[in-house]
Symmetry: C2
Subunit: 169 residues, 2 copies
């Protein structure tokens, strides 16, 4: 099981980027996303994608993040450009229940201490969405490519244009 914990979410300012975080989590093999701030609109839009395109995928907002980290049984990884290079630490990562913490702007110092590992997907400023995508791509060895989703809606790969299959169920 892979769970993503999104910190520092402010609904007005961050909803689009946090939606990107949540959908990236789902598409690249995470099972669940926890968001520190309550945001029913965010929950609705992410659940709507999972309902249409397939699941299971869970989202929970308004989560007490300190407790979520402290009580996690399994490995806790914090993605940050200040951390250790992913290429060095990924091979040593245990394969138990994984919590991947991604912040918005400023992440409290406590998170660096509570995490088992602070991991950098490059030590350059870029995007938590990009960091999460590349982390999951590598951690799962691209397992998302073989997954069959069985959602009500599915997109059929095509050379040009858009092909969508909608099944009745």
């Amino acid at each position: 099981m892979i769970t993503i914990l999104r910190l520092g979410h402010r609904p007005a300012r961050d909803r689009r980027v946090t939606t990107h975080v949540a959908l990236t989590a789902r598409a690249f093999g995470a099972d669940r996303v926890l968001v520190s701030t309550k945001d029913p609109g965010l929950e609705r839009s992410v659940r709507d994608v999972a309902r249409r395109f397939g699941g299971p995928f869970e989202i929970e907002t308004g989560v007490a993040w300190r407790r979520a980290i402290a009580e996690w049984r399994g490995t806790k990884v914090h993605l940050t450009m200040y951390g250790l290079p992913i290429g060095d630490v990924l091979p040593k990562l245990p394969r138990d229940d994984l919590l991947v913490i991604v912040g918005a702007e400023k992440v409290p110092r406590l998170v660096y201490d509570l995490a088992d590992l602070n991991v950098a997907v490059g030590n350059q400023p870029h995007s938590e969405v990009a960091a999460l995508a590349v982390f999951l791509e590598r951690y799962t060895k691209g397992a998302w490519e073989k997954r069959r989703w069985r959602g009500r809606m599915s997109i059929l790969p095509s050379r040009r244009g858009k092909r969508v299959r909608v099944s009745r169920k």
Copy 2:
């Protein structure tokens, strides 16, 4: 050379996500980003990162996108969840000057026709930032990991906390 073309950018609504696109482009090995709509604030913030953390990296906004695509000498790839699987098409991609087109919400049909290849990083809805990151990670075979940036500021990987080196030059 790898150039990213960002379509459908609306400064008020999209600046944060487009900033993520631009910084992801830089961090994962692209040389330049072109943005369809004029946005001096976006240019400033991306140039500011390149000035502090190292370059070269260019951004240009207010670009006539139809012409940019039509006149491109080299391969033009459009990232879209409707396209062909990246795993199938990447090995066949020519290694000349590459234009990678990423849209915001709705991409005009013309783009699907002008592109040499419509490529899906998964046929699930997620994020253009994630799609770009994984595309560049695979296209460059993770070359970003070995790059030395030589910027005025650099982040020193660390186990906990933040270490930043600032050189005078």
